[in-house]
Symmetry: D2
Amino acid sequence: KKGLLERLKEGPVVGDGSMCMTLEKRGYCRAGQWTPEAVLEYPDAVKQLLREYLRAGADVLQTPCYASSDGRLKRGNIIYTKKSQTSEINEAACEIAHEIAQEGNALVCGGLTPVVSYSKGKDETIVKGEFEGQLAGFIKRKDIIDFILAEFFGHVEELEICVDVMKKAKLPIACTMKLGPIGDLNGVSVEECAVRMAKTGAVLIGINCLFDLDTCLKTLKRMRDALDKEGLKTPLMCQPLGWRCPETANMKKGYLMLPEFPFALESRQVTRFEVHKFAREAYNLGAHYIGGCCGMEPHHIRAIAQELAAERKLDPPVQGTCPPLGYLHNALSLRKEKLKKEFWMSLKAGSGAPFNAACVEPYA
Amino acid sequence: KKGLLERLKEGPVVGDGSMCMTLEKRGYCRAGQWTPEAVLEYPDAVKQLLREYLRAGADVLQTPCYASSDGRLKRGNIIYTKKSQTSEINEAACEIAHEIAQEGNALVCGGLTPVVSYSKGKDETIVKGEFEGQLAGFIKRKDIIDFILAEFFGHVEELEICVDVMKKAKLPIACTMKLGPIGDLNGVSVEECAVRMAKTGAVLIGINCLFDLDTCLKTLKRMRDALDKEGLKTPLMCQPLGWRCPETANMKKGYLMLPEFPFALESRQVTRFEVHKFAREAYNLGAHYIGGCCGMEPHHIRAIAQELAAERKLDPPVQGTCPPLGYLHNALSLRKEKLKKEFWMSLKAGSGAPFNAACVEPYA
Amino acid sequence: KKGLLERLKEGPVVGDGSMCMTLEKRGYCRAGQWTPEAVLEYPDAVKQLLREYLRAGADVLQTPCYASSDGRLKRGNIIYTKKSQTSEINEAACEIAHEIAQEGNALVCGGLTPVVSYSKGKDETIVKGEFEGQLAGFIKRKDIIDFILAEFFGHVEELEICVDVMKKAKLPIACTMKLGPIGDLNGVSVEECAVRMAKTGAVLIGINCLFDLDTCLKTLKRMRDALDKEGLKTPLMCQPLGWRCPETANMKKGYLMLPEFPFALESRQVTRFEVHKFAREAYNLGAHYIGGCCGMEPHHIRAIAQELAAERKLDPPVQGTCPPLGYLHNALSLRKEKLKKEFWMSLKAGSGAPFNAACVEPYA
Amino acid sequence: KKGLLERLKEGPVVGDGSMCMTLEKRGYCRAGQWTPEAVLEYPDAVKQLLREYLRAGADVLQTPCYASSDGRLKRGNIIYTKKSQTSEINEAACEIAHEIAQEGNALVCGGLTPVVSYSKGKDETIVKGEFEGQLAGFIKRKDIIDFILAEFFGHVEELEICVDVMKKAKLPIACTMKLGPIGDLNGVSVEECAVRMAKTGAVLIGINCLFDLDTCLKTLKRMRDALDKEGLKTPLMCQPLGWRCPETANMKKGYLMLPEFPFALESRQVTRFEVHKFAREAYNLGAHYIGGCCGMEPHHIRAIAQELAAERKLDPPVQGTCPPLGYLHNALSLRKEKLKKEFWMSLKAGSGAPFNAACVEPYA
């Protein structure tokens, strides 16, 4: 099995997609704390979703343990994890991801997330300790983990601490921030964040969550330019939201400020064709690892794999069922134009909701 | 296990939801012919989706064999079923639905669909033969089938023939038409269709697919009024689309006339709150069996079960994971108004797509 | 000067446009009671607006005395007309319209409107008396009046009484109702209204105000069909709103039920290109007198005159300043496509208001 | 009669509104070159529009001679001015503005505009000569001109040259640029433009045209901050568009890049309530001269005068006809909420056009 670095050299790598928000709709997660509960309580449902990403063409499956960190899990208000430990959750997540990755040819990526102790201003030793707690499971299961990822970081400084800890695992390291146009949560600019991320020595750096496809492209462009200026070659990674949210592009917390979050986002969900366009543009901007975060479901990941099939020198893996682009089928032949990609790429889809506005005033 | 008639007496019955369109997004169906292939090729993926409906509160699981009819399967252009027979597909579908229904307390409903021979004007004997072919599997597996449903009928006359055939099974019979405001495909009015459906002796009659929630409510109202006028007491059933499509409310083929069909419907998908409102209104109009068709996914079915929990004298079955309404969680407590149902019920969600119009000109 | 009947024989006749709502924006009317005050207090401003319609191509100028009827003027709450009489207002209106009509080749049309006594259910003698009061001024100034029009009638019965009174003037009679798809205010159908209007002997019958261009076309079609069925040849007249209001198409009071009425209708105003399209379709449906009501401003009337220039065998009268279609000018040549009518006819104009919905819930 | 400086000390000054675009709709201008023709050919129509602004509460009437500059008038493609000279037009414009200003208590402002010779890169002597040509008429009619204004400048450098020439008139000088967020046409920042404008010695500096109310407020804020930083006290002036055009906020040519320009802008027109809100915010940001440019019609100017009536220590001048806010009238009493300003201020008006998007892709 080729590793991450080898794959990145050969062509764009396709990531997986939405976990928690999708599992909530399917009935296996509760809004708020999201994923970790499910790996222990409903492993089959988690496996099924990962399998769908695999079949859609994902080259990587992340361990489904987002937000699994002792600091978070110990918060009194988290009902479902009273008895769970980070280590227990992370190990289960490793096994689940590995099992499904084996069904195809995917890599397994162990994920770390920001810690409560940092945001509470605790001493660096405590912060590092919390990251070490997250990392422990991955080190233990290093036999089935291909690389590790620090994701959803709001402060570049915290990310630097985390990557420093991650080095102990002796695995390739990737990292992404929930970074929008106005910079990180301390106001560190996109450009400085990019350079500092690259200087940690991570092999992939980028952004995930909180912002939509359009905003992601703008931030990638600025990151690429900043890296180029410094002569840094680190390839970019991006896993944006699957919802359009232009109203919150310039807010620190991005789409969390939408009134619709988290239960009424349906009409904001992108089509697979918006993802085709996005994947092409992100790739052109130097993103060599393209996946999705909340709201990017299997058919969106398939669109990335299909759009970049030539560059990846791979057939989209689900070709039997879903031919290239997935919409070449005789049963649509009454409308021959629908058999052509151009039809779909230029279509402006309606909401069917004339009494609703396109944009909604976000929270301040 | 209580049967259909007993359940209908006790309170509203919740149906299941979207199969083919949802499986297409998950990677197990191809647009065009939809479900039947999956029951043979990917039974686990089909089971998982049915399980999600069960967990969401569905009282009934339909056999996932929509469009499984020899006439259709024999069409040269259907790649995946070259070798399959209606009987083979329907039996597999029965077993799948039964297996999952057993995980809870759900009924299994065997489904029949319109036949090619009728639309081609063939002799009634041939038409009946094709329905008998569909029915055979259900008669064979009568041990695990609770009732049978003729659904998606465009001609009330064809439906009458089908119900006549179905009587041989000696099982309770339900039937639904893809009926919009302008009447059936021959122009038979909503009112006449309602009365004729009731007079077949079916224990449940109603509508499914092609039209959205608003249009469904209008049609239900007219059906109820027409039945009342004739003194007919048959309870109503409805399984509408999960997409808003006001533009095609007055077209025979409903949402099939949208340019977005079938691959770019995301921004038309209803929220769970629109389903709450719909379920309440449909129930008030006399619909005692409420489920969903294409686009109504697990969280939508859960909304029906939650909205009508009191009338059903049942807890929503997934209470552990998804508390009533699914949105009472501390992690949202930063926005206290989001903990209240009223917030969500009055929210007008945006599309985040200011360059797209609410409505799109349908095909003529 | 050719009279109304002669002109109708030669080709379509162009009416004038919005008075009260336009004068309110210009500062000469107060929302609520509208026109009559202005003819006495600000005759020059009223003349200027009529002149603009004349220059735009109107063949007819109506006397600007809408709602001038003793019953209305005597209502205690009408500040500006405490001292005015219907006769005084109507005579001033005749002179104003005549003066401007003389600047070109336009006809003068004396207008009558529904009376309070009818809606209060008074005796027919009293109702007729109120119409006679309105008619008196026109009979007196018969030297400068070319025909008379009963407009904005909500009850076909009241219109019949009015036309009966109008016959005394021995002038050609036209009549229009504020008639929407659901029929007159008593529920008399569009079809019956059309036939009864034609049977009064009026030379022109039709609809004005309350509904938008699209709704107007639908009603015209039904009127034409109903007249054809009875073998009635009376030509149709229409003076619709200049605002889009699909939300209130099926309400008795039409756009009066919009929250935006009367001060926030700007974004509903039609473009001249929508009027081009409307004029062509209305003409094709048999409308031989096409003008505008509230919101149809001079450039809209010009669009009617320009669209039907060939049928009218007339140059649009303001050709010197505004060439055919008004948009063939070198200064736009940077965008050559803008010199072509097709560009404008196919353009879907934006509102620039992404936080506003296309449609607004009307009052019930 | 109090002069400009005295009025500015006493409270906010209200400017006039749209000329050319409004006269085009009324039938007195042709799209492209706009105003100057009308002052010679249709002086009464021009006077009527100025009178409406006066009645609406404008403290200042500008000479309606926008774009009257020899360089422009000599362009072969300008039909209507073959024979006209800048001087002839400007003198007529002075007299027209003066005549109407006399009907109330308004000041007359002589307006200068950018010159062709500058944009063609001609020698400064030629540029100055062209400005001198524009200024000549105002110097000649200094008896009736209260102050002079350089407006619609795209280059701050050209503006500096113009103001330098204007000093010869020994009249108070105001100046405005068509300045959007990305700076002037040469890329000089908003902040630098503000400071350089203030340093010319003009008594009022600001922005006009090309951008909408929201964008205007953002630019005013940046100008105010830049001036404050330099300790400059010059009061601000603004005359924005009356159309919403968020799509072109970051384009040099602003709304000229909209496909709808100039004939299909109706649905973008602001309501008077948007102007109320704008006037209040602009005043709070230090704008002491607030008027309108293209698309700001009499009822919009009235909204400025009404919003700032208390600060101006003046009754809105048209009080007899249009009471404060213009919407306190018994005839609306069926909807009592409509008698309150809050109703209108919080109303989100619809476009009635569900098949049109809020935003339209501008030209690149």
